[in-house]
């Protein structure tokens, strides 16, 4: 893992206060900079640096796949210990697998499948079952109460 990037107090304010609400205007950086009491160029430089150091994954929009006519699901596998890396490679090989995490549980591999066609989700899960010989547990979202990242640094 990379070392923790150093953030000063102004960087921290940017991270904490700009996790949404970036203006859709001709001069959005100037607008935000004014509200933070800093210069536009300073704001741009700081965001750019935090993207470079990895403190930020990116700067931009978070897109809702479902609103685009696609679908997303969370799925889990109980992978026998000796097969973990092999199965991870198979699962990760699907373009539609957006995230995959090892977790401490009998269901020890949890992955998000996102596709621009709803039907493709079921196909991918079926293909993963066929390729691994393991039962895929599908946990589609039934109701969304919150999504966002209110990280405070």
């Amino acid at each position: 893992m990379m070392a923790k990037p150093e953030l000063d107090a102004t960087d921290a304010r940017i991270v904490n206060e700009l996790q949404g609400g970036f203006p859709v205007s001709r001069t959005p950086f100037a607008d935000v900079a004014a509200s933070l009491g800093i210069e536009e160029q300073d704001l741009i430089a700081r965001i750019s640096r935090m993207c470079d150091t990895g403190a930020l994954s990116r700067f931009g929009p978070l897109i809702n796949a479902e609103r685009l006519g696609g679908a997303v699901t969370l799925a889990a596998l109980a992978v026998p210990e000796g097969r973990f890396d092999e199965v991870a490679e198979t699962v990760n090989g699907f373009r539609e697998v957006a995230h995959n995490y090892a977790r401490e549980h009998r269901l020890n591999m949890w992955f998000v499948v996102a596709a621009d066609r709803r039907q493709r989700i079921g196909e991918v899960l079926g293909e993963i079952e066929a390729a691994t010989g393991l039962a895929v547990h599908d946990f589609p979202k039934l109701e969304e109460f919150y999504i966002g990242l209110k990280v405070t640094v």
Binding site: F22, F29, I44, I63, V97, A102, R103, F139, E143, F145
Partner: protein, 164 residues
């Protein structure tokens, strides 16, 4: 809901594809996008504002890398709460500042009894445990059982990408 897709035209999709990995870091980012796509800046701004309003874009801003920022402990807390209470509880749990995602998902009985998922981030497992304790207090008597599944490794993280 369903007609949102049909309301997206080619220009909307091209704009989303152009900005999904990041907005240009320059004083007039939407002008830069407009230039690249041969659209008018005012048109790009109006379309992005509409995509934001109708929820195709959830939000625009910094996307923190919580691992790089020291929030290395990530616990997926899962809760068995009565189905008729899950909506009210879900909204209250989702409103907690340390919960990044909160969803109702299906039970898979008998091996999986949990119907509410709340992702909790912290600097350490102890911090995540404290926060899960806070959720437990909020859920109160409706908490029939819960578990926390800690992540031990990120196996893949590319995120959603539309287009080719």
């Amino acid at each position: 809901m369903k007609d949102d897709v049909s309301r997206l035209d080619d220009a909307d999709r091209r704009i989303l594809e152009a900005i999904q990995a990041g907005l240009p870091l320059c004083p007039h980012p939407y002008d830069a996008v407009a230039d690249r796509l041969a659209l008018e800046p005012a048109d790009v701004i109006a379309r992005v504002a509409r995509l934001l309003k109708n929820g195709v874009i959830r939000r625009i801003g910094v996307v923190p890398n919580h691992y790089a920022l020291g929030l290395a402990a990530n616990g997926m807390s899962v809760w068995d709460v009565p189905d008729d209470a899950v909506a009210g509880i879900g909204h209250r749990v989702g409103a907690l500042p340390f919960v990044s995602h909160c969803y109702r998902r299906p039970r898979h009985l008998p091996e999986w009894r949990y119907n509410l998922f709340a992702m909790v981030h912290g600097r350490s497992r102890e911090e995540v445990e404290d926060k899960v304790g806070e959720i437990a207090r909020l859920v109160g008597d409706a908490d029939r059982a819960h578990e926390v599944l800690y992540s031990t490794r990120i196996l893949k993280k590319t995120g959603l990408r539309i287009g080719a």
